[in-house]
């Protein structure tokens, strides 16, 4: 399983690099090959404007990875900071933060991200903002729960009584113990942010034409499904393999780092 996941990830990495090196053009329009089936020149065929689907799929991975890494890093930083503070300080700080997260969790699935993206307007930057605004909640809950259980460990109490500052205790005595849980959570969130990005782009709220995005490509693929089923199939299978590989990687890390449950 580990090998399988790793080989898919390496495959995509190599493909993206090769696509760059060989100069595949994701935005070149060729009116002679509109919705062309896969052939020797266009390995995955062409889309509704005669653009190379392979080139666009590879460009899409790049954008998708870039968005998910950015969003994961930002949301993790914000969420962990808030969670650490709430879990360690307790009392009022904790109550207020929990109340806010409760409100955020009252919006099911990606509804909140849709709402943010809707009012902020479409586009890559706003998409990232919308995903960041909604993504920090799970990290905050996770970090808070973990910090609360670590709060009264002897090494923390010892550091406190030695007069260590709050930031030192959090950074040196608590955060390192959270690392493995956070790494596992971050891996899964890479995959889920990728899906959220594609969902929003699918709804027309994310990355805008002519830039390639898997969500938007799937939507166009559905539109031309009757005449060019290869379009939706190519994007669909690419997406499945990548999401699968990242989740398998998450499972592997979870077992390796012995994290019992990343959810709380």
């Amino acid at each position: 399983m580990k090998l399988f996941a790793l080989s898919i990830l390496i495959f995509w990495l190599v493909a993206v690099v090769l696509g760059r090196v060989t100069g595949l053009q994701p935005n070149d329009i060729d009116l002679n090959s509109i919705l062309a089936a896969p052939n020797a020149q266009l390995w995955l065929g062409a889309d509704d404007l005669g653009r190379d689907i392979l080139a666009r799929v590879l460009k899409g991975v790049e954008v998708s990875l870039w968005v998910s890494v950015t969003v994961t890093l930002v949301t993790m930083t914000i969420g962990v900071f808030l969670g650490l503070m709430a879990g360690f300080l307790g009392g009022r700080t904790d109550k207020i933060l929990m109340q806010i997260t409760d409100i955020f969790l009252a919006f099911p699935g990606i509804l909140l991200a849709i709402a943010f993206a809707a009012v902020l307007g479409a586009g890559l930057g706003n998409l990232i903002v919308a995903l960041c605004l909604t993504g920090w909640v799970s990290y905050a809950r996770l970090a808070r729960a973990q910090t609360m259980s670590l709060r009264n460990r002897q090494h923390v109490i010892a550091a406190e009584s030695l007069g260590a500052s709050l930031s030192r205790i959090l950074a040196r005595h608590i955060l390192p113990l959270l690392a493995s849980v956070l790494i596992v959570e971050a891996t899964y969130s890479l995959a889920s942010v990728m899906i959220a990005e594609a969902s929003l782009s699918f709804l027309g709220l994310g990355i805008q034409a002519p830039n390639a995005s898997w969500g938007a490509m799937l939507r166009d693929g559905v539109r031309y499904m009757l005449v060019a089923p290869h379009y939706v199939l190519a994007v669909g299978l690419s997406m499945m393999s990548l999401v699968l590989a990242i989740n398998l990687g998450g499972d592997y890390l979870r077992d390796k780092l012995d994290v019992k449950s990343a959810q709380s």
Binding site: A106, I114, A115, M240, L244
Partner: protein
């Protein structure tokens, strides 16, 4: 129980406040964004007054709540129809889709979960678990087009999209139901495994009951409780999942209304849809929680 219901109040208030503030998050002037460049100053001022945007924020929130209490969501900017009517027209379709998906999810998930539990540790268990874990990771906007490709385009068994024939509901319901069934399979399996180790199951077997009776009458009944909870919790996510599924299959529910309103920059409609979906979610979650307490005396005092 009362505490649980009262605990919802601040959440509902927060949801109301959030959806109210949503329109104020629009960069620049929301009226300008909604009406576009061609609108006259009179039009703009009329809309501004109509939406109450020229009043102080607190007063705006007050009248927003007051209107909502009377079931008034205001008017759609695009069609000038009352939004309450739009939602009333679309909500039943979403509910129907959600219930159908739930039935499909249960019909696939529960038997598979029992099957996996009965073959615990054997290859059948492994296959079921892998499929269910992986399937639940695939989003609706992936599964929907794939099902459409296979069953509507290649096999031609079902309509591609729309709501014309009664068979139209099958593909969108399958799209949502498969994702749900994956979660239900895992929950049923875990729950059954726990119950199968209980003393009363051993007693039932020792009494000489047939394996079928042991499983259906004794084990499944006890294992059902956590499954009900999951169903309740997932019902809310189903409502949210309909946004994408309805868009894929041109299903005229509230999710599609939401997406259409975003495309037309009809913010009051967007606001109302987000509010209705979120409140449905909160209500279903709370109801599930209360039903669970009723059903299981062990958690009643907790």
């Amino acid at each position: 129980m009362l505490k649980r219901v009262l605990g919802v109040v601040p959440v509902v208030f927060g949801v109301l406040l959030f959806t109210f503030l949503l329109i104020h998050l629009v960069p620049g002037d929301p009226v300008e964004v909604m009406l576009g460049d061609s609108a006259t100053t009179t039009d703009r001022e009329a809309l501004r007054a109509d939406l109450g945007l020229n009043q102080p924020l607190i007063q705006q929130f007050g009248s927003y709540l007051n209107k909502l209490a009377h079931g008034d969501f205001g008017l759609s900017i695009h069609t000038r129809q009352p939004i309450t009517e739009l939602i009333r027209a679309r909500y039943p379709a979403t509910l129907k889709l959600a219930i159908f998906s739930l039935i499909i999810g249960l019909a696939i998930g529960v038997p598979l979960g029992i099957y996996a539990a009965l073959h615990n540790g054997k290859w059948q268990d492994l296959v079921v678990t892998i499929i269910s874990v992986r399937l639940s990771a695939m989003p609706a906007f992936w599964l929907g087009p794939m099902l459409m490709l296979v069953f509507a385009v290649w096999l031609g068994w079902l309509p591609v999209s729309g709501m014309e024939s009664s068979a139209s509901i099958i593909l969108p319901a399958l799209t949502l139901g498969f994702g749900l069934s994956a979660i239900l399979t895992r929950m049923t399996r875990t729950s059954m495994l726990e119950v199968l180790n209980e003393d009363f199951i051993r007693t039932a077997r020792a009494k000489g009951l047939s394996e079928r009776q042991v499983i259906v009458k004794h084990a499944l009944r006890a294992a059902l409780l956590p499954i009900i909870t999951i169903v309740g919790l997932q019902m809310g996510s189903l409502l949210a999942g309909t946004v994408i599924t309805e868009t894929i299959f041109s299903w005229d529910g509230i999710g599609r209304l939401l997406v259409e309103s975003i495309e037309k920059r009809d913010y009051p409609v967007t606001q109302a849809c987000v509010l209705v979906i979120a409140l449905s979610y909160v209500v279903v979650n709370t109801a599930t929680d209360i039903a669970y307490r009723f059903a299981d005396p062990r958690v009643r005092s907790a």
